[in-house]
Symmetry: C2
Subunit: 235 residues, 2 copies
Amino acid sequence: MRDLLIASTSTVHGSGYLEYLFDELELLFKDCNEILFIPYARPGGVSYDEYTTIANSAFKKIGKKVKGIHEFKDLQNAISNAKGIFTGGGNTFVLVNQLYRNNVLASLQNAIENGTPYLGTSAGSNICGLTMNTTNDMPIIYPPSFKTLGIVPFNINPHYLDPDPKSKHMGETRETRIKEFHAFNTQPVIGLREGSWIEVKGENIKLRGDLNARIFEYKKEPYELTTNNDLFFLK
Amino acid sequence: MRDLLIASTSTVHGSGYLEYLFDELELLFKDCNEILFIPYARPGGVSYDEYTTIANSAFKKIGKKVKGIHEFKDLQNAISNAKGIFTGGGNTFVLVNQLYRNNVLASLQNAIENGTPYLGTSAGSNICGLTMNTTNDMPIIYPPSFKTLGIVPFNINPHYLDPDPKSKHMGETRETRIKEFHAFNTQPVIGLREGSWIEVKGENIKLRGDLNARIFEYKKEPYELTTNNDLFFLK
């Protein structure tokens, strides 16, 4: 049975790395002591080792060990043998590029579909959608494709931000950007605010956390979805 | 002699489309009555016709006519025969994708290098840099490449925004994003604030407008460059 936590962000303002999710993570990873970490998104350009140390320090607080995928020789095996997987945030272009170059997308998809517990934050959440076309990240690398895992039948926009009515900046708001996406694509998009996550248990997909989410469907006005509601209708 | 105005934005807050640039545009386009408009970036998903109407209304105020490139059968000819060219803003991925699909990048580069006056705003400015890797836009379409015209020997970040010290949002600041770019790329980036533009006259490249710009060089701390200064050192 699929078992995922797809979070908007690793960190909410004023709290430590992953801290707001600790209760959930104890449940998600209850049957595994060692979690396989995918550090490919390299936030701020940090090395795989540095990033793995950060993830390890956080999981230590709930009694878990973290091992970076770069410490393994056979990457496909590392994924299929993992008891739990965490893909951290950073730059989605860098992450997706590395997943393609290392030829691990299919293994990751199989492991998740076969029930390996999975945590994604930010870029690590983006890849659970159909494509990475709705990332907020800067395209600092050209990946072989924008197609991602398609664990959920829609696209994700993490760190969703409401328009600021007082802003004098002329750059596009997040809402405008996602509307532009729908001038060229038809799949729905969930705008996931910081502190929200998507819980996938088998065929059930639910919005979790304290906040509502903003839903963008093709040729419809965007609307709010209340937390703890099903997302099964969104496809 | 190359003659370009590469602007951060088409519109500054509280003013009409292109209005803050009218004096400059009268000079840039003094020898041409009809300007070729490239509407491919389609802001908000508008049609080429709608976008061309917007550009035409603005240029009418300084006595110029605008014709969309989509009104021509032979696109390469339209570009090489143009007396002046304007590429408007919108989504850089959509713009670059269409320039590649229609096979007009080389013609555009030739026309500009041969002295056809060129105005770019936002996405239309991004393409004057070496690559589009430092756009702020959402990757709503997968273009064949991120390589762009390379009229200037650096990358451009239009609509540059300073970090907001009061923000509680955990998404990356613009400065962090450009620093991440330099974890994977070495060319300099100019953060061009709204109201600033780059003036290219032959081999001379200058920062113009009332504001300073933020310069990001590989393995250096970012710094401010005062307006009206040369940019020839940036490569």
